[in-house]
Assembly symmetry: none
DNA sequence: CGGCCTCCACCGATTTTTCGACACCAATGT
DNA sequence: ACATTGGTGTCGAAAAATCGGTGGAGGCCG
């Protein structure tokens, strides 16, 4: 069974219905003989009746049956199956317009879909699709596509409808956006929970574990920092990143090659550049980082700069620890830092 | 307003003197009337006396003076101090030639100066000075100065050198310029950000907020439209404009008297003339404008003509809004439109 | 030149989506 | 059996998006 988050962490996550821990561990309730995902909507049982398990198999084997509400077997993977299917359907032809009626035709209740997207991705399903379409459209315009052709290819039937929507998301009319760029974000599954990733045409500019409820604020910050619109979408760098992350988590990749974009103050940049120099599997102290960044003594500032890093894992801020050997802090939760370090030191993960 | 980190984040950063937030926000202390960078070394004030501001400008406008220890303007404040000094030095005697060596003698790195000018004003420092000299020279030529005297009085040591430079900027040799005019441009600071203003001998022909990235193109358009060169320089109308703008922003001036020059197509001119008739503090709809311009139904076209207006504020295109009460669009950014309207309706600007 | 084409700081009438409220359901504690 | 919790489906009103209008400017091409 090996690595689970610490018990108190799990208790907190279970209490808070933190869906980012789905798949990371399971909760078995001895009074009912049922086991659930951490995010199960049902009322919380008394804590003396709960037991934490690393896998569903384990729970089944111990005689528990899966909960009918959160269906811990049914989905196993984080996003419920119907969401995966729906997303796949969207990807089949992102330029197509999907109306509430189409959802109903697939047996999905639009309200349910909307609520799920709102909760998970911070926007309604329709808003997701719209952003997705406009992001693609901007891409084509940037490449110099003829405006009218682009419009007809992206789900709008009228010139003006497209224009209105475009201006609303990007702030500038399509004609003036020729050379502009936007940030495309996507969600990536990992053994440590879902990550949100963002990329411009130049490279990856965002990668974070999503359980920070900060998501909304993050988007705003990113938008301000890059002065660009943020839309959900696909992007070659994101695909590249997904492949490399998969290899990283399987322990076979030690050095990422996907390009990064990380603007910041001069001091921050120095710290981040230094982080990139720490080899796989090794650690540094905050003090060493401050020194390397040219400001010995500024270890506190180095710590802050570490925390401000927006590209987790690739800019390995998890490789910086306290001088006394303790782990220090980590934006995505200490247990993840521990797991990442463990992974890099060859500890077999669950 | 708009995008700042969450308040608790700012409090933490200020408390910790976190220099990574320098330039991201500013702290104004109401008990002392001073504003600082987050990293200011001075003793922390009581938190009930602090206010957070997004920009130094905002703080200044709210009546705070920059702290003498952390010098919040010094680094990030829009025109760095050394630039201001340098510009003042140029103004002292615009006809003087400033070589790289002179800059070095003042402790400035020519490359740095060039980069800053290129970035901020769209031309190198040398180009700025050359234009400045030529603009003055042209003004004198128009007034009938003796050609050779003019030349020698403006930093050129030889006739031919002046001619070359002159031809390069204006397209015509100086002898033919008598009776012609060029457009002098200058930068004007305002509570809503810096403006670029342009004037001929007849009056103001350009006034725009400079964060419109279009500046370069604008200049080209202006040059083509007026068939005149655009050079940095001073001009009585510009001085007049500066005084009136200051009064306008302080809320005491409601009608500008500085003369305007705005050539355009007949339709555009009709729209612009109508704009000038909208009284201070009132608004019209695009539809009303179209009607007033004699083409009811051409509301969209009226909007476009509005957008083509090159003299912001004075030709009050900000007083035109959507019929449904929404603000519509604004070249300088919607927030400016809102603030301008607020100012005119007596809302104390933040 | 004059036609042809693209783009634009809008408007009004239709869809379509969003949002709130409310009843219902599964899982659980008492 | 009944209360409690938070998700789900349904409904209707309110808010947005969309669609197909619009007239004018400016670039391009023969």
């Amino acid at each position: 069974m090996s690595a689970m988050p610490p018990v108190d962490e799990m208790q907190r996550a279970f209490e808070a219905r933190d869906s980012s821990y789905d798949g990371v561990f399971f909760v078995a309730v001895s009074s009912t003989g049922i086991f659930c995902r951490p995010s199960c909507p049902a009322r919380r049982p008394l804590s003396r009746n709960t037991r934490f398990m690393a896998t569903a198999k384990e729970a089944l084997f111990a005689g528990f049956r899966p909960c009918k509400r959160c269906r811990p077997l049914h989905t196993d993977g984080q996003p419920p199956e119907w969401v995966e299917e729906l997303l796949a359907w969207v990807e089949e032809d992102p330029s197509r317009r999907i109306k509430d009626g189409d959802l109903r035709a697939r047996g999905l209740d639009p309200a349910r879909v909307r609520r799920h997207f709102q909760r998970t991705y911070g926007m309604t399903f329709q808003a997701y699709c719209r952003g997705r379409r406009l992001g693609d459209a901007l891409g084509e315009i940037r490449e110099g596509g003829e405006l009218d052709e682009v419009i007809l290819g992206h789900g709008y039937e009228s010139h003006s409808g497209f224009r209105d929507a475009f201006v609303k998301t990007f702030g500038t009319p399509p004609g003036k956006s020729r050379g502009e760029d936007c940030i495309q974000v996507d969600w990536i599954e990992s053994p440590l929970g879902p990550l949100v990733a963002g990329a411009t045409a130049e490279g990856i500019c965002l990668l974070e574990f999503t359980d920070r409820r900060m998501l909304e604020a993050q988007f705003r910050a990113i938008r301000r920092l890059f002065k660009r619109a943020v839309v959900p979408g696909k992007n070659p760098h994101l695909e590249h990143l997904k492949r490399e992350l998969a290899a990283y988590f399987s322990g076979t990749l030690m050095r990422f090659t996907v390009p990064l974009v990380f603007p910041g103050t001069p001091f921050q940049r120095r710290v981040w550049e230094e982080l990139l120099r720490i080899p796989y599997g090794q650690t540094r102290t905050y003090e060493q980082m401050a020194q390397a960044a040219g400001s010995p003594g500024a270890c506190r500032a180095a710590g802050t700069a570490n925390g401000m890093n927006r590209i987790a894992i690739l800019i390995p801020c998890h490789r910086v620890v306290n001088k006394d050997g303790k782990l220090g802090g980590y934006g995505g939760g200490l247990w993840r830092k521990a797991r990442l370090l463990g992974l890099e030191q060859g500890v077999p993960s669950s």
